[in-house]
Point group: C2
Chain length 221, copies 2
C-alpha cells in the first residue's frame, strides 16, 4: 500500500473435517484474477456492517451454500506483500460444518469447491499455503488440550475413526485399548446404539458427542 493508505481487511476460512482417514480442507477454485484456476481457501473482504466473525460466516455461506457451522478465530496475517494486488490483512478462521456436508455448493464467485487432504495441499493462491499450514498446526495443538476432535468428526463416528484422527494429526500411533479407555473416561462421547455396518469386517459401535463443542481439558484437575 502507499504510505498512509489503509489496507483492505479480509477473512479467509479453513473449513475442516476428518473423513476418509484424512484431515480434509474444503477449497474453492478461483475464476478471476489474480489467480484464475488456482485453488484457495474461501475468503472475502470485510464489509462495512460486519465484524470478522460475521464475514467468516458469510464466506462460509458463499463457499458451501450452507449455514450451520462452528467458527474459531485462528490468526491475523499481515505481511505487507501477502497480496500482490493491494495491501490487505486477513484474519483466518477455522470452520467446522454442523449440517449436511454432502450438499456443499459454492456460489458463482467460484468455479468449483471440494474436499482435499489438508496435509498434501500446496500451490494455493495468495499466502494460503501459509495460512493452511498454521491452521493445521493449530488443530494439532488443540487436539492436545481441547475437545476439538468432536468438531472434526461427523455427527456419528466410531472410536477407531476418532483414534485415526488423533494419529494422523499428531503423526504418531496410539494404543487402541488405552485410547478408548481414556476417551470413554472423559465422558465426552456416548454410544448411539447404532452400528456401522457394511465395512470389511466386524461392525463398530457408532458414538456421538455428548456436547458438540470445543472445551478445554484442564491441566490441574
Amino acid at each position: 500500500m502507499e504510505k498512509n493508505e489503509k489496507p483492505y481487511a479480509a477473512t479467509d476460512l479453513g473449513i475442516f473435517r476428518f473423513a476418509e482417514n484424512m484431515l480434509q480442507v474444503y477449497l474453492v477454485r478461483l475464476k478471476m484474477s489474480p489467480f484464475p484456476g488456482k485453488y484457495s481457501l474461501p475468503g472475502a473482504l470485510l464489509q462495512y456492517d460486519e465484524d470478522m466473525a460475521q464475514a467468516a460466516e458469510r464466506v462460509y455461506r458463499e463457499a458451501t451454500g450452507q449455514e450451520a457451522a462452528l467458527f474459531e478465530q485462528v490468526y491475523t496475517f499481515s505481511a505487507p506483500n501477502r497480496d500482490i494486488r493491494h495491501r490487505s490483512i486477513s484474519t483466518a478462521y477455522m470452520a467446522f460444518p454442523q449440517g449436511d456436508i454432502d450438499d456443499f455448493r459454492p456460489c458463482d464467485k467460484y468455479d468449483f469447491g471440494g474436499w482435499f487432504n489438508a496435509a498434501e495441499m500446496s500451490g494455493l493462491a495468495y499466502d494460503h499455503d501459509e495460512i493452511l499450514a498454521l491452521t493445521r498446526d493449530r488443530i494439532a495443538a488443540k487436539l492436545n488440550y481441547t475437545t476439538i476432535a468432536l468438531l472434526l468428526l461427523p455427527k456419528e463416528f466410531t472410536l477407531t475413526e476418532m483414534q485415526r484422527l488423533y494419529e494422523h494429526c499428531l503423526e504418531r500411533t496410539l494404543d487402541k485399548r488405552n485410547f478408548r479407555k481414556k476417551i470413554l473416561s472423559m465422558e465426552i462421547v456416548t454410544p448411539t446404539g447404532k452400528m456401522l455396518r457394511g465395512q470389511k469386517a466386524r461392525p463398530a459401535m457408532l458414538y456421538q458427542a455428548v456436547d458438540r463443542k470445543m472445551e478445554m481439558i484442564p491441566l490441574f484437575r
Copy 2:
C-alpha cells in the same frame, strides 16, 4: 465506516508481568482526543511497511522506551463500532518484558505509563476493557497448557512466587508440596544458588527459567 471505505488497521498491546502478587498490565494515559486523560492499552495504527508483529514491537518501544520483549498474537477485534472516531480493526498482542522493567518511560504520545492490577482495571478507552478481559482469560488458559508462567515472572523468582501466579490467575489454591514437586519434575526451572533475603522470614531459593519461552505441555506423553 462508509460503505466501501476500508477500516483502519491497528494493534493494541497488553504488556504483562506478575509482580507484587498480582498479574499486572502496563497502561498508558492518553493525551489526545477522543479520550484525553483516560487509560488505555498502548496501541498504534499499522504502518505501510510493517506487519502486525512489527507494529506491536514499535508500540512496545513507544510505550516503554525499551526493546526486549516476547510477543504473542491474541485476537483481532473488529466490531463495526469499536472505535467511535472511525471504523478500525485491532489485532491485540500480549507482550512479556525481557529487559529492565524499572526503566519504562513512555514516549510523548502518552502522558504517563504504569503498572496496574490487571484484574481490577475498568473504564479504559475504546474497547480496551474487552481486550484486556479476553487477554487475561487467554493467559489463564495458557497457564494450563503452556509454560507462559516463565514469561510473566521476573528473571529470578521463588517457587512461592510462581505458585502465587498460578493461584491468582486460576483463582484457586494449590498444595505447596505438590506444586513444587510438579514444577521441578517438569525441569523448566533451575535454582540460581542465590537466596531472596530481606523478607519477613526464612530466605527462599531463587530459580530461573531453563529456557525463557512459551512451550506447550503435551497431553499424550
